[in-house]
């Protein structure tokens, strides 16, 4: 019987070695382990044996069975792997074929992206959102901002009128008046929105554009804080390598007033056409809120100080992305919009 077992094992291993397919393995499994299989037959005849022999044969059968199963499993794994390899070969893709899009590419307008970058930088410094209407009272747009009727600086911003008392706001600064009239200081606000000026459309002008105003009112604010705040957000938008320069200027609603220049984003400060050879580009106007404005809104300018800055999102976008003509930003050509 032992010989028989050895033979079964020998035959099975030979068949295993010769097997070419999963089907042959299946047949072998059936022939050896199946209901009428060789090992099963041996087990069936064991009843006639003595207890001792039975134990010995039983052990031998088990051993054979285990060994064969081990081989069979290995062979199966081999075949499975081989079959899988074949399948992989069959299913290989040319991954350079075009992608299959369910939807076209959407994109936020670059100005929205610039706006969010600036906003998030300011929100990180404790600013909150505040807004006002696009069509404003002349009072809020001018008079209360220390630009009384017939103030020559009104000419700086040519205005669209709806009627004598109502204008399309020429800047986001009227939001300052609304904030001063409705909120209790101290506060830090960022105020985005569209503004309008009587400017014919050309490569650098648009009668409609987007501004953002930063406005802080607190007890101890100064020019150094203005510089610090502006530096922080300029670096957020244009990167840490950009240099800034705060230069004295004039606005009726700030005193002292300043303009912020950044080192040219195109040439890095060496001088080029964009910066007109100076290496610097002006990006915003700012200053300490004019005491008249605070007083107009019922705050004591000795107690409270404001710092304010207003910037053109269109211009920042042009500078950030190197857009040569502001008209692109309102043409809505998909080939432009998709780039951002």
């Amino acid at each position: 019987m032992i010989e028989e077992l050895l033979k079964i094992k020998q035959d099975a291993l030979e068949r295993l070695a010769a097997a070419q397919s999963e089907a042959e393995l299946q047949a072998l499994q059936q022939d050896v382990f199946g209901k009428g299989g060789q090992l099963t037959s041996i087990l069936r005849t064991m009843g006639q044996l003595t207890a001792e022999k039975r134990a010995a044969i039983g052990a031998a059968v088990n051993e054979t069975k285990q060994e064969l199963e081990k081989h069979m499993n290995e062979a199966r794994a081999r075949y499975k792997k081989k079959a899988q390899e074949l399948r992989f070969l069959r299913e290989e893709l040319d991954i350079t074929e075009p992608a299959d899009f369910a939807l076209p590419k959407g994109a936020l307008h670059p100005m929205t992206q610039t706006y969010r970058t600036i906003r998030d930088a300011l929100v990180g410094m404790g600013f909150s959102m505040f807004g006002g209407p696009e069509i404003e009272l002349d009072d809020n747009n001018f008079t209360l901002l220390n630009l009384p009727l017939d103030h020559p600086a009104r000419d700086m911003q040519d205005t669209f009128f709806v009627n004598e008392k109502v204008v399309l706001r020429t800047h986001t600064s009227p939001c300052e008046i609304r904030a001063l009239q409705t909120l209790k200081p101290p506060f830090r606000l960022v105020m985005p929105g569209r503004v309008f000026r009587v400017d014919e459309v050309d490569a650098s002008h648009s009668p409609v554009f987007m501004q953002m105003e930063g406005f802080v009112v607190d007890r101890n604010l100064n020019i150094a804080n203005l510089k610090g705040t502006l530096d922080a957000f300029v670096h957020a938008v244009f990167g840490d390598d950009v240099k800034t320069r705060l230069r004295p200027s004039y606005f009726p609603f700030t005193e002292p007033s300043a303009e912020l220049d950044i080192s040219c984003t195109i040439c890095g400060g060496k001088g080029c056409r964009v910066c007109k050879g100076t290496g610097w580009i002006e990006i915003l106007g700012c200053g300490i809120t004019n005491p008249h404005e605070l007083q107009n809104c019922g705050l004591d300018p000795k107690e409270w100080t404001g710092i304010a800055f207003g910037l053109g999102v269109d211009r920042m976008t042009s500078l950030k992305y190197g857009i040569s003509d502001v008209r692109y930003e309102y043409e809505n050509d998909a080939r432009f919009l998709k780039q951002f």
Binding site: L103, L108, I135, R194, A224, G228, P301
Partner: protein
């Protein structure tokens, strides 16, 4: 304001480089607009003497000249006929530049030429500036001209001119004297202030002045001159006027222009013989009073405008322009010089109303001051005498209602320090302010300052601290103040939901393939009419602009459609290959309240082969899902700009969110659009008001769902949504979910006028796995319910 360097150097020692000067001025608030050479188009042209002149061997009209240019002799060809041996002429030798031409060696018919001779034209010269400048030929220079000298030097046109941008608060710097004061301070020097010599006049002046409106004319100074000898002004004055971009006319006019530039105060010269009774009256004009100004324009004035008149007629529009009837001419013998102060706001008003924009009006508008008015007059009179242009008669006529006292202000030292983040003492502040002529004394907590008459921008009230902080800031240098973040209380910065929701909507639509548009707010009534919006519609209640660019941009948009359609048309025409756009923007309605009503809208525009009513609907539904809007329904209806039967109103519960539809073919034609466009407009406010604020977790079903399909045949007019509602609302113990229409079929096997609708749905129970019986019962109930609603099962 232009500042010629040579002129500046009369008052200061220019002891730094041009670049350094420009930078110092920048830190003081004077930004350079440009720095130009006086003569920009010419460089490298030198003088040379023609030592021999021969005929060109191969060209009849050319001569070959040997020219001594100082350090060598060069050969130059010319076709000019006025040159001769011994003539000294301007030579554009190799490397010289005139306009766009840089001269290099040329060979003309076998003979080399090393440049070209120049005419007066190349230097923009007039006969008055250099004799022979306007002859047809080469400019022949005077015999004593050195050889090899730069022509710009010969012509004294070698200056450079700085042009600074002025801020509106510094009208005093719109003058050479004013700007030089700042320049001297920037260069760390005391300015050599010019001293005006008072000229005592002969006899008694015949003229007298009455000011009837002292509010509009706080000061009026005048002086009479006789024996006027009208002649060209001297060359130095002409040169300076030209450097400032002005055209010399004659000595009297040039003097007023010169003083305008030098002192920044506008003056006027009348021919006194044309003034009746030698009596100048400053009064408001009468209604419809007509004055013809020097430029021969007739102006119809009104009572709001100030007139310069004599007892019989108007002789000038105050502060704007003099009258033609009293103009200085060749035959003028007596002159009346006017140097006055007119109220800026009134001059601005007059200038605008008459459409007469002049330099004088601009200066009065920006503000002039009374002390300077007299200084300018005195300076002009001094020049008249210096130039021998006439004889001064009598004394200054001065009608003054202005306050000429020096102003004193008190400044809070601690407040100034606080604004600048500095810790200066009062004495240190005074020291800083000295160079700009702000002198004063330090007291316990304040400094007391005397304000020079020309610093009209420095206020004495609550702005004083800020004004002086600005002065100290620009002298101390903003660049020397460190950059410090704000400190103090912490603030909770946040993007409030009002703004965050906009982000969410935009981001969702971008995820759905939309490109974001930005269109202008301006549109026209015609564009709204082209949308077929009926007259009574809210969208025809647009806000009109008083001063639009034109009819096409005359009103504020009441819907985003117009701008979006125009941009869509552009994309279609340019074949950009994209057909999904969105815009979030404001529209305005004239609701006759103080301010127009502003609403934020969300616009969508889809077009192209892959798009349909239902792709747009899908995007809207997805947006509603992301925003957690409950019970979103599409109901027949919507704007007339859509094709009938292909438009819908969109609701969440009972709130109207907006509308959508396929653009009406007529509208499409009106906008010259060649493709079918599907558009929608949703209200931002409505979306936000319906938003499910508190999303709560609903347990995930624990027991399996069973899917079922069925098909019914109904009339064409039956809406799918109605049947979906029938299925959903079938009374049964089970939960019916995910009811979807998955097929619509018309045609063979379905009767005419009918359609076959196939629905799928799922059934489940909250607390157990369904049995076959339960499923059958529920399914039968649904079929029965459908049948009861005229939707029998398809046989």
């Amino acid at each position: 304001m232009k500042l010629p360097k040579k002129w500046l150097c009369e008052y200061v020692d220019f002891n730094v480089t041009d670049e350094e000067f420009v930078e110092r001025m920048m830190w003081r608030g004077f930004e350079l607009a440009s720095i130009d050479k006086e003569l920009q188009n010419v460089s490298g042209v030198i003088t040379g003497k023609i030592i021999s002149l021969e005929q060109h061997p191969n060209a009849n009209r050319l001569k070959v000249c040997q020219v001594d240019i100082g350090d060598k002799v060069v050969q130059i060809l010319t076709n000019a006929t006025n040159v001769f041996e011994g003539a000294i002429v301007p030579v554009a030798y190799l490397g010289a530049v005139i306009g766009d031409t840089t001269f290099s060696k040329a060979n003309i018919r076998g003979v080399d030429s090393y440049g070209m001779f120049c005419s007066g034209h190349e230097f923009g010269l007039t006969e008055a500036e250099y004799p022979g400048a306007e002859v047809d030929g080469i400019l022949i220079l005077s015999e004593d001209t050195p050889l090899g000298m730069d022509m710009l030097k010969v012509l004294q046109k070698d200056d450079i001119v700085f042009d600074f941008d002025l801020t509106p608060n510094r009208p005093d710097c719109n003058s050479i004297i004013g700007l030089c004061r700042e320049a001297a301070a920037a260069l760390g020097q005391d300015m050599k202030e010019p001293q005006i010599k008072h000229v005592k006049g002969e006899g008694v002046a015949s003229a007298h002045v009455s000011v009837e409106n002292p509010v509009l004319c706080p000061r009026y100074c005048g002086r009479v001159l006789k024996d006027i000898k009208i002649a060209p002004s001297p060359k130095w004055m002409q040169r300076r006027l030209r450097a400032m971009g002005m055209r010399p006319i004659n000595n009297i006019v040039d003097i007023t222009n010169y003083v305008l530039v030098e002192y920044g105060h506008p003056m006027h010269a009348f021919d006194l013989s044309c003034i009746a009774d030698d009596h100048i009256i400053v009064r408001n004009a009468q209604k419809d009073e007509v004055v013809t100004t020097l430029d021969d324009k007739q102006h119809v004035m009104d009572e709001s405008m100030l007139l310069i008149a004599d007892p019989k007629k108007g002789v000038g529009v105050a502060g704007v322009m003099g009258g033609l009837n009293s103009e200085i001419t060749e035959s003028t013998n007596t002159v009346f010089f006017e140097s006055a102060v007119f109220l800026g706001s009134n001059i601005r008003h007059t200038s605008r109303k008459l459409h007469q924009v002049t330099d004088a009006a601009a200066r009065f508008t920006k503000g002039v001051e009374p002390v300077n008015a007299l200084l300018a007059l005195e300076r002009a009179v001094e020049l008249v005498e210096e130039l021998g242009a006439g004889t001064v008669v009598g004394d200054v006529i001065d009608v003054c209602n202005a306050d000429l006292d020096e102003r004193q202000i008190n400044v809070d030292v601690e407040h100034v320090n606080r604004l600048l983040n500095l810790s200066l003492t009062g004495e240190q502040m005074l020291e800083l302010l000295k160079p700009i002529h702000l002198y004063g004394s330090a007291h316990k907590d304040t400094i007391k300052l005397a304000i020079p008459h020309y610093r009209t921008d420095i206020e004495s009230g609550i702005e004083a601290d800020a004004d002086i902080a600005e002065e100290i800031g620009r002298i101390y240098g903003f660049q020397n103040i460190p950059s410090v973040l704000m400190h103090g209380d912490t603030f909770q910065g946040c993007v409030s939901e009002e703004y965050a929701d906009e982000d969410k909507i935009k981001d969702t639509l971008v995820g759905l393939g939309c490109l974001e548009m930005y269109n202008y707010n301006f549109t026209s009534p015609a564009a709204l009419t082209a949308l077929q919006i009926p007259n009574g519609d809210e969208r025809m209640k647009y806000v009109k602009l008083l001063n639009p660019f034109g009819e096409e941009q005359s009103v504020m948009r009441t819907t985003l459609y117009m701008g979006m359609l125009t941009s869509c048309a552009r994309n279609i025409n340019r074949k950009t290959g994209h057909g999904r756009f969105m815009e979030v923007g404001n529209v305005h309605f004239d609701n006759s309240i103080v301010l127009p009503e502003e609403r934020k809208m969300i616009g969508l525009a889809f077009f192209g082969e892959k798009e349909s009513f239902f792709t747009l609907k899908a995007a809207i539904i997805r947006l509603c899902e992301v925003m957690h809007l409950p019970a979103v329904r599409f109901v027949k209806g919507g704007c007339d700009c859509f094709q009938p039967g292909r438009k819908a109103l969109i609701y969440s519960g009972e709130t109207l969110l907006g509308e959508m539809g396929q653009l009406h073919p007529d509208v499409q034609d009106a906008y010259s659009i060649s493709q079918t466009i599907y558009m929608a407009e949703l209200s931002y406010l409505a979306i936000r008001s319906c938003k499910h604020d508190k999303v709560r977790f609903a347990p995930i079903p624990r027991f399996p769902v069973v899917g079922r399909d069925l098909a019914v045949v109904v009339d064409n007019a039956v809406e799918a949504q109605a049947l979906i509602d029938v299925i959903k609302n079938t009374p049964t113990d089970l939960i019916i979910d995910e009811v979807e229409l998955f097929d619509v079929y018309r045609g063979q096997g379905v009767a005419e006028g009918k359609k076959n609708l196939a629905f799928s749905f799922t059934l489940r129970a909250e607390d157990h796995t369904l049995t076959d019986d339960e499923i059958r019962t529920a399914f039968d109930a649904i079929i029965l319910e459908l049948a009861n609603n005229n939707a029998p099962l398809r046989q």
